[in-house]
């Protein structure tokens, strides 16, 4: 099986939500800003619960925020 990676649109969604800052998003979902930075950079794959919380903040379904794609596929 090919190697897959969790990708995300957090940065784009923040921008489209009144340019929500990383700190504001972190506060809303109850994590540190460093964790949001790690998620946006694709370095950390959040737990399912945190992923749902982030999707709830943006008011979109989970699959609009996170996707599971082969490692090589860069968008």
């Amino acid at each position: 099986m090919d190697k897959y990676k969790v990708r995300n649109n957090v940065r784009k969604l923040r921008f489209h939500n009144n340019e929500l800052t990383q700190e504001q998003l972190a506060e809303k979902v109850g994590v540190t800003r460093q964790t949001i930075i790690a998620i946006e950079g694709g370095k950390y794959a959040p737990s399912l619960e945190l992923a749902f919380k982030i999707a709830l903040v943006f008011g979109v379904p989970l699959q609009d925020v996170f996707s599971y794609e082969p490692e090589g596929d860069e968008k």
Binding site: G30, V31, T32, Q34, I37, K43, S47, L50
Partner: protein
């Protein structure tokens, strides 16, 4: 540098200091004619108590100092969010795992030293040393994970 990274840095520096103190005392004893049981026992007690006290007091003092620095910087009495989230917990667990593996290797080396004819004092001194080294490597691995992102 995040709050957790500062906390780990304080812990790393104190563990390094304890390690240097422990090794210097052991070398002094060796040069003065070998390990003496009474002196070695008191050294172990000092080192073990120091590690426990440093871990507790160091964490409390870092918290207080960071709160003061935050209050001075922002000139507000609003508390900074010193929260620990799932990523911090995972990094902590990975650090503990690295510490555990290091300590296990240390225990093995200590046992081997005894099996190859070294006195029990050397074996136990190696055990204490491996616990300090395990703490240091655990701290370093956590700092590495924080710097890398995860």
């Amino acid at each position: 540098m995040s709050y957790q990274e500062k906390n780990i840095t304080v812990s790393l520096v104190s563990h390094l200091l304890i390690g240097v103190y422990y090794l210097s005392q052991l070398f002094q004893m060796q040069q003065a004619g070998g390990l003496v049981a009474a002196k070695v026992f008191s050294l172990w007690a000092i080192v073990i108590v120091a590690i426990i006290v440093v871990n507790i007091i160091g964490s409390i003092l870092t918290n207080i100092l960071l709160s003061i620095v935050h209050a001075i910087k922002t000139r507000s009495d609003q508390e900074e969010r010193f929260i620990e989230d799932e990523r911090d917990n995972l990094i902590g667990l990975k650090g503990s795992k690295v510490s555990y593996i290091t300590f296990s290797i240390g225990v093995l080396i200590a046992m081997l030293s005894f099996a190859f004819g070294q006195p029990p004092l050397v074996m136990f001194s190696l055990l204490i040393l491996s616990s300090i080294v395990a703490e240091i490597i655990g701290d370093l691995s956590q700092l590495y994970l924080y710097r890398k992102g995860f």
